[in-house]
């Protein structure tokens, strides 16, 4: 295990934990940004440079800025969004134990791999390059690409229908 892997994994874990414990919405967004930066470092370590750049531009740049806009617009009042009292008792204990069970199952699946399973292989020279990525996206995976364009259009139309029609 390399020092860089430990550092990037640590950043990702600290970001995820920060989302769980932070009270202020802006602090939560910063924690998630830390998580995304750690994941971008991990993608670089997996020689997927294009994915690292996309992670930073689309996720850290666009999606989290969208979150920040909504937080800045909506949570200007001082009282917290979450009420103090729990309507659902034992929610915290139940949530953490269910999450722990999921973690246990996934860890068992991940760690108990069969003997002789392939490990990280030698790479073709242009793995991770934008050229190969674009070629794969626009030839082999053309149908998902077109469906994706349709999904994005549906999202835009849906957002406009949901919030755009109020004459405020």
């Amino acid at each position: 295990m390399n020092f860089l892997f430990i550092l990037a994994g640590f950043l990702a874990l600290v970001g995820a934990l920060g989302l769980l414990v932070a009270r202020q919405p802006v602090h939560q967004v910063l924690a998630v940004l830390l998580n995304f930066c750690g994941l971008a470092m991990l993608y670089l370590g997996l020689s997927s440079e294009f994915m690292a750049v996309i992670q930073l531009i689309v996720y850290a740049g666009a999606v989290m800025i969208l979150f920040l806009f909504v937080i800045a617009l909506l949570t200007t009042r001082t009282d917290p969004i979450e009420r103090k009292e729990d309507r659902l008792p034992w929610q915290r204990v139940a949530g953490i134990s269910v999450g722990g069970a999921v973690l246990l199952m996934l860890a068992l699946v991940g760690l108990l791999r069969p003997a002789g399973a392939p490990s990280l292989a030698a790479l073709p020279a242009d793995f991770g390059s934008v050229k190969l990525f674009g070629h794969e996206l626009l030839t082999t995976h053309l149908l998902p690409f077109e469906l994706l364009a349709f999904i994005l259009m549906v999202a835009v139309v849906g957002v406009v229908i949901l919030v755009g029609r109020q004459k405020a």
Partner: protein, 102 residues
């Protein structure tokens, strides 16, 4: 050279996915729940990229790219719903949303 073995990447993705799931379950602000769902998408993406690196072809990277785009669309719709929610109610705690319950 890869930084770590495949199992370590899988374990890290499992931990991140579980932390996102715990966030969905224990936090009651809709914004936080949406961000925790983003963490879960990202854990799945880390697995896609790791397995693409293992097999040495780009299919996993393309799939992770598609996941990122779908997640962006999901965030747009989800934030629009949250904006409507904040306009309609003065408390947006997810426990208070029971209009669909009859």
């Amino acid at each position: 050279m890869p930084l770590a073995s495949l199992n370590e990447y899988i374990a890290l993705a499992a931990i991140l996915f579980s932390l996102g799931g715990i966030g969905v379950l224990i936090r009651r602000s809709p914004l936080t729940v949406l961000m925790a769902v983003e963490l879960m998408w990202n854990a799945a993406n880390l697995l896609f990229v790791s397995f693409a690196r293992m097999h040495g072809n780009m299919d996993g990277n393309v799939m992770a790219f598609l996941v990122i785009t779908v997640a962006a669309a999901e965030v747009a719709i989800g934030l629009a719903l949250i904006v409507l929610l904040f306009r309609k109610k003065d408390h947006a705690d997810v426990d208070d949303l029971h209009e669909l319950k009859n």
